[in-house]
Symmetry: C2
Subunit: 293 residues, 2 copies
């Protein structure tokens, strides 16, 4: 069993990005600049955004954090986005989700200039993903693809079973794995809450990508020998044994699957750390595309 | 075995659209106006465009046919599209494909205002389809959905196997059938040229949607009893017995499957006639969305 070590791979990617930035600086090219917009004071959101800004600093990007009050009007937030769209110094920006309830998230995401949409959430970019055009691939599926690529896992003609049809993981990864090329060319089955006899399907899978959010849902009786398991689930499970009062669990019964899987992502330390690395990668791409014009 | 009679259903839809147009006229609302752009003199393309214009006339739409010479420059075609985008009298328009080789098709499709893109080929509209937002669904998958709806075929939790991953059929219908709602909520497997052991997969299907282009490819040994078969294949097969010198064949061995399928589309007369009806439906939607503003 090979551990798909997202922590290590994400650090490798950050190192590579840092080298690319140094080279850009050496050439006198502009370097990538990511802006992050956060509305309100939600603790988890502040933590995520803080990690993203620190990651920028680590690889040598410029970064800007825009903190807005939780009672900001939709109109004022749209105004901020419009300014970022037109600010020539900014290559890409993200709007940290979730947004307060009085703001229409869809309207906000549609307002982001697709050329600066490094989260890949704008429908134009999502459509380009489905139509095999140049785009920004959302960070989580992009991270999964990159893990598969770096461990050189065969995907052509393989049966990939995706569990969960969310807009940010299940839907895009199901499309990406069935596109032409590598990683891709897989036969993909997308399963979800309405799927019947799920374990009959997972048993036929060469690769399982689970983004369900039910801790230790995937057990050895549901998979065949040699399966590749990518676990996108992250759930806090109460635990008195830990000072924080909880432990993080994935969708996969990791220990139980050790004897059956050929490759597996741990949780934490698998797909999770890849997402920030891929956000940086998208920001680098945004800058490179501008430099290439 | 129930025949999914696309000819009849498409006529029903056209009748319904004609009634809607009469009502719009009665209310003093603007009525739908479709424009079609054709470049060059390709016989098949001229036939298709002619059918679309005649269908507009039948349901009471205004229509405009713009015929351009095959040596028109890309710039001049983009200019035509820009004019249609800004022409307030036009609700929707299509650019008949294929375009001559000196024109970048992708660039042309990207130039169409998504609000008037009644073919649903613009990536923004395609992304909205994948993200469950209001959009224009491309005519062929929209027609398949409508056939399933009108015959009240159960789809929730059913296993749908799609054969072929084209941008205009396989990819969008695989997304649509796995979205929430009806028709949808299916477990969807997307298969294609790289798929291994295809018949093992089709044998587990409750619904098969084939858009492969290989005549009579799907045979009884590949399906289970009671399967629903939607045949999107249209291939001309040489035949000395017919005055035209060919017959039209689908992907499905229709006669051989009569004893096994529960529902099946004939070719011709199944999915084919639905496409123009759904183009009209999209044009009606485009007008209604404008009237609603």
């Amino acid at each position: 069993m090979v551990v798909l070590d997202g922590k290590k791979v994400s650090n490798d990617i950050k190192d590579e990005i840092a080298v690319a930035v140094e080279k850009m600086t050496g050439n006198g090219d502009a370097i990538p600049h990511l802006a992050a917009v956060i509305v309100g004071e939600d603790g988890a959101s502040l933590t995520y955004v803080g990690s993203k800004v620190r990651a920028c600093q680590r690889v040598g990007f410029d970064s800007t954090l825009i903190q807005l009050p939780s009672d900001i009007s939709e109109q004022a937030l749209l105004q901020t986005i419009d300014e970022l769209n037109h600010n020539d110094a900014i290559d890409g920006f993200i709007v940290q989700l979730p947004l307060p309830k009085h703001i229409d998230t869809q309207k906000i995401l549609l307002a982001v200039d697709p050329k600066k949409d490094v989260d890949g959430f704008h429908p134009e970019n999502f459509g380009k993903l489905a139509l095999d055009m140049e785009t920004f691939i959302p960070a989580t599926p992009f991270g999964i693809m990159e893990l598969i690529r770096r461990y050189d896992i065969e995907t052509s003609g393989k049966h990939v079973v995706v569990i969960g049809r969310s807009h940010i993981v299940g839907r895009p990864i199901s499309i990406l794995m069935s596109r032409k090329g590598y990683p891709g060319d897989s036969t993909v089955t997308l399963t979800h809450s309405r799927t019947q006899n799920l374990s009959d399907i997972t048993k036929t899978a060469d690769i399982i990508i689970s983004a369900l959010g039910i801790p230790e849902f995937l057990t050895p009786d549901m998979v065949k020998d040699g399966v590749v398991v990518i676990d996108v689930g992250i759930t806090r499970v109460p635990s008195e044994d830990h000072p924080k009062g909880y432990v993080i669990r994935g969708d996969v019964a990791y220990e139980a699957l050790l004897g059956k899987a050929s490759y597996m992502t741990p949780v934490p330390g698998g797909v999770g750390p890849m997402t920030i690395a891929m956000l940086l990668q998208n920001t680098l791409l945004a800058r490179q595309r501008r430099n290439a014009v």
